[in-house]
Symmetry: C2
Subunit: 492 residues, 2 copies
Amino acid sequence: MSKKLITRQEDYSKWYNELVVKADLAENSAVRGCMVIKPYGYAIWEKMQAELDRKFKETGHENAYFPLFVPKSLFEAEEKNAEGFAKECAVVTHYRLKTDPADSSKLIVDPDAKLEEELIVRPTSEAIIWNTYKGWIQSYRDLPILINQWANVVRWEMRTRLFLRTAEFLWQEGHTAHATKAEAIAETEQMNNIYAEFAENFMAIPVIKGTKTANERFAGAEETYCIEALMQDGKALQAGTSHFLGQNFAKAFDVKFATKEGRLEYVWATSWGVSTRLMGALVMTHSDDQGLVLPPNLAPIQVVIVPIYKGEEQLAQISEVANKLASELRSNGVSVKYDDRDTHKPGWKFAQYEMKGVPVRIAIGPKDLEKGSVELARRDILSKEIVPQTEVVEKVKGLMVEIQDNLFNRAANYRDSHITEVDSYAEFKEVLKNKGGFISAHWDGTSETELKIKEQTKATIRCIPINAEKEEGVCVLTGKPSSQRVLFAKAY
Amino acid sequence: MSKKLITRQEDYSKWYNELVVKADLAENSAVRGCMVIKPYGYAIWEKMQAELDRKFKETGHENAYFPLFVPKSLFEAEEKNAEGFAKECAVVTHYRLKTDPADSSKLIVDPDAKLEEELIVRPTSEAIIWNTYKGWIQSYRDLPILINQWANVVRWEMRTRLFLRTAEFLWQEGHTAHATKAEAIAETEQMNNIYAEFAENFMAIPVIKGTKTANERFAGAEETYCIEALMQDGKALQAGTSHFLGQNFAKAFDVKFATKEGRLEYVWATSWGVSTRLMGALVMTHSDDQGLVLPPNLAPIQVVIVPIYKGEEQLAQISEVANKLASELRSNGVSVKYDDRDTHKPGWKFAQYEMKGVPVRIAIGPKDLEKGSVELARRDILSKEIVPQTEVVEKVKGLMVEIQDNLFNRAANYRDSHITEVDSYAEFKEVLKNKGGFISAHWDGTSETELKIKEQTKATIRCIPINAEKEEGVCVLTGKPSSQRVLFAKAY
């Protein structure tokens, strides 16, 4: 913990990897591509979960739980979805091990315990859920179904990075069923709006709402809505998606309902999800070369108090002040840790809590006892000031709001100053190379052009912004007509 | 939903299966042995989770998340644990599907995507966790580690039943690491006590605390503590276990720590868990031939209000009263549903909420409008009374406590009257056959005797009760000396 991070300037990618481990968020495990989420990281994820869960329930959704495994025959039922995930799915083929006849201390797969049908570890649950909904839906009275699931999913990615891309990750996946297309689209949009609100107001991460191009759409969706954030290295990160699935899954699993008028119609579907990937977005939006920076809303510890003392007697005096402050702060809803461990020096503790992104640090030493003051440090701007003990509670309460706002504004300023309008392909490549960020450019609307640009520059269309102004122009690559700018970027 | 249940008398096992489905708790899925937990069932599980999570955190535990998969080489590291779970574990052998050359609409396992080392879907996480702890523990300063995980696990059971025994289930598993044996044993006991408190005070399920015999111990444990409940059919159900693992896993994964004095010692371990099996215990402890009976603490809906009306105008008048009552109840912390759907008749609704175990039902009809009253029905004793509207809130607040207590007492009376002391094997068999329940008998302490009794009667030793009186006696089977009675029963 005492070792410093490499700086973002020196090596952004390495900085991220080091930070995630040194801030005790997560680490790689013995299973290729799978991570261990450590208690400190998990506590942040729990705060995200609680807030999202509240928002889902507030909008009428209920939680449920569906099986981890998808039988191969169900997995392949919706063709595009199956095709989209077949190349990266973990397959269970056997259900028993036995002692190795060649070495009795070893176990081998028992060839007699082969499954009749292979099971896919869910990469996403549309197939198993729509196969279930088939039994739940007969008439319009059974609709809508508004269900969310908190679960683990597995996608056997070849290149993995903690939180950003892992073979197993945690997420929530909403799966809803509706009687009409309009209602399903409204649900899709509502959930994308909830994600945007959550990202901005709770995580202090500014996002752009948009829809994906056909190339970037979820496999099996007719339209994918998304929120796109911008990281400090100028790369975009897709932070959440909400899919309008049309009647694709209803048709694949033959899910029909009787309308009020007695006609049989296919059901309309949506699905939407955010994952532990948000932890990566959090790290890369706010943190600095000293370590993690947390918005107060997500901080497991909002205020840490560190005593600076010589000898037991001084510690006792400081502890009296510290415990009183801690208890006052707690009764004002602020989470506080008083770290009076004698196994570590104050300087070590300062560095540790800086690394872990604790928003406010209060230090109390002998001089503070004399003067009735404390030293208060803000993690977001790395500032320090002397504050009278009597003013600490009000000061901290104000800071909880101020720091949250400051982090959002700082990230929004960075993002806004990294959306560049370009009108030629030369400029496009120049901005991408020297500045990064989102490039707002005209595009002729074809997958062909999009793929060519991707091949040549590694930039993809992150989204077609919602409610963007219409503007006549010509495609930066082909010169063909275009009626709206879209956002390109290199992306995580 | 309108169809009645088979009675417990007629077929207890079928009654349970029907109830779980008809009360909308869970259903079987397309995956053999795996269940779908429906929103109503999941809402009950969420209440259990919230209360347990609170208790775990209150006692200093933190949540974290470890991988779903265990590489075979880690899985087999602790011999007894591996042996105990090898016969029922799902094995991932491949990581990709490809189009079937014989039929392009089908997918097959891609033989080129075989894993170098097979991955076991965790049946329990000691192996992967202790392999991780190895990297976290160097000195006594790193101890204790007090971690819990909420997760899904898979055990490929041949005979499955909803909640009671499923191939995949949800659970929490605590995994702690300690510097001393005494501390680890204290943790094991503490967690078993927490489970007992939770079962009795939150779920209204009386339990007996005890330890398991060597035969029934967790694979890899030195001592297994448990809580044992008694179902209405006289069969016991293990509702939670807490294991003292000694240094077995520390030795298997070479996890040592430097003591204060600088010696290197193996770490002491515990693990403890409860699962969605508790849902089965809940159903079988309280429910009756009309359906589920829920203790108020676990009821997603504590009070349902049903209007009985003819025409819109009457409904409007009733709704005014109902909404006022609902809002008053809610501001007193009671969860209320006002079911004014016009698609179903009151009788249908009554039967539905009875099936779903809603503790209190309030019906409001035209006569109640005149008299300023409501009809209030208790689900636990199936009673009805007329209550003045002005007294409803106080009445319901009282009932929330009364019903909770009544359910516990009813179950405790049943349990207590089904613990039979026997002193001969003839009596043992007679009681087991004609009465069921726990049989308190002397046993000579050998696995041989225990297995013989199991073979002959299907009864096993559920536990050696903690703090039971010492009493000299002779084993019911062998006549050999014994110093304490143990509890036998047939079990789920």
